[in-house]
């Protein structure tokens, strides 16, 4: 640590608000300690939806992103940030952190809107330099909104993502029951997301169909019509047309939309507390 202080210039990052997407608690702590030493204010998100909320609430100067996170990978998260409805969020520089050398090659990370990539293990000086560079070049592009900012095409984010009225009625005003059911819904959907990943890899159409089928009721119950139609698409692709690529495409859409539904669900439940 002493060595670091000696080799790393300090000052330029003082007061910067940094959002860290990282799900490993140890890495979180290490990164947080280092950034704090440089005078940064650190926000940590172990799940993408949490990070997306923080982006709304705080004026973040730079994002550090682990490329492997549960439910949604860093590429998808980056695309969502670049497709954000607020220009100020779309412009935030993103630096990816990964131990996977294959991700550092090629242009995939740039295509998802990631500005720079550091290969783990990286030394503090390269991190510092990359961060300073990211923040400077962001200041330069402030007048040019729209860089790498393709919003997600097919999804209509203005539509209501869900509606709890039906389920609330069935729970006869019992808030605890409602919140239990919402928790079960979340579990079902997370399980679905995990299984889909495995079954798509195995090209197991029958299992894909059965998994999709199992979450349809829940999606209807919480009135998540857009997500429902995506999952119905997965079900049809696997049972009727046998089109695995179509199922995979729909699954990508599911991964992009699900975190938004979960956020909305949380907001709805908070309103009721």
């Amino acid at each position: 640590m002493h060595e670091e202080a000696a080799t790393t210039p300090v000052g330029e990052l003082r007061g910067m608000k940094i959002l860290v997407f990282e799900d490993n608690p140890l890495n979180q702590k290490l990164l947080e300690a280092r950034l704090k030493k440089w005078g940064c204010t650190v926000f940590t998100a172990s799940k993408v939806p949490v990070g997306m909320n923080l982006l709304q609430q705080e004026e973040i100067d730079l994002i550090l992103m682990d490329l492997r996170m549960p439910l949604m990978d860093g590429f998808q998260a980056a695309r969502r940030i670049r497709g954000h409805r607020e220009a100020s969020v779309r412009r935030i520089p993103i630096i990816a952190l990964t131990a996977d050398i294959s991700l550092a090659e090629g242009e995939k990370y740039r295509q998802s809107g990631i500005d720079d990539l550091l290969l783990k293990p990286y030394d503090p000086t390269s991190l510092y330099t990359a961060m300073v560079h990211g923040i400077r070049s962001c200041a330069n592009r402030k007048d040019k909104p729209g860089i790498g900012c393709e919003p997600l095409p097919e999804l209509n984010l203005e539509d209501r993502l869900l509606s709890l009225e039906y389920l609330e009625g069935e729970c006869m005003g019992d808030l605890r029951m409602l919140s239990d059911l919402v928790q079960l819904f979340r579990n079902n959907l997370l399980e679905f997301a995990g299984r889909m990943k495995v079954y798509l890899k195995e090209r197991n159409l029958q299992a894909i169909g059965a998994s999709a089928h199992k979450v349809l009721s829940g999606l209807k119950m919480i009135g998540a019509t857009q997500l429902l139609s995506i999952v119905e698409g997965i079900y049809r692709a696997s049972t009727e047309t046998g089109d695995i690529r179509q199922a995979a495409r729909a699954y990508e859409q599911f991964l992009a939309l699900y975190p938004l539904v979960e956020e909305a669900l949380e907001r709805e439940m908070n309103k009721r507390k």
Partner: protein, 125 residues
């Protein structure tokens, strides 16, 4: 009077919890089973007053369940099948094997309750 006991076989935990909640409010004692193996070991131990089962279940479908009850256990316990659109042939099979009623997804808890009440009344009259 002892409450009537109902076995609910449904692998979607969310739907199962909602139905259990409403049926218990309606005065039933509800036991849950989330796959065919649980159903089978439950039935080998005791028979409920009525069975409500999803037609698509891991290890043991609703149809196999009806067959197991009627052919192996020689039981006349009423069975209501929860079915899905597009499963019409299966429902006919289930009726053939001795299912008593069916209800389609999405299941309305109120409707299920009415059907359960009716089947219990029929049995006791």
């Amino acid at each position: 009077m002892q409450p009537k006991r109902l076995l609910l076989a449904e692998d979607d935990h969310m739907l199962a919890s909602l139905l259990k909640y409403r049926l218990e409010k309606g005065g039933y004692a509800v036991d849950l089973a989330s796959d065919g193996r649980e159903v089978k070991s439950y039935l080998l131990e005791k028979l409920p007053d009525v069975v409500v089962s999803d037609i698509m279940m891991p290890y043991f479908s609703g149809i196999e369940l009806v067959d197991f009850l009627r052919s192996e256990l020689k039981s006349r316990v009423p069975v209501i099948i929860i079915s899905t659109a597009g499963n019409e042939t299966n429902i006919l099979n289930a009726f053939d094997l001795g299912a008593d009623d069916f209800i389609s997804k999405p299941v309305s808890p109120a409707e299920l309750m009415i059907r359960v009440d009716k089947i219990i009344r029929k049995k006791t009259s």
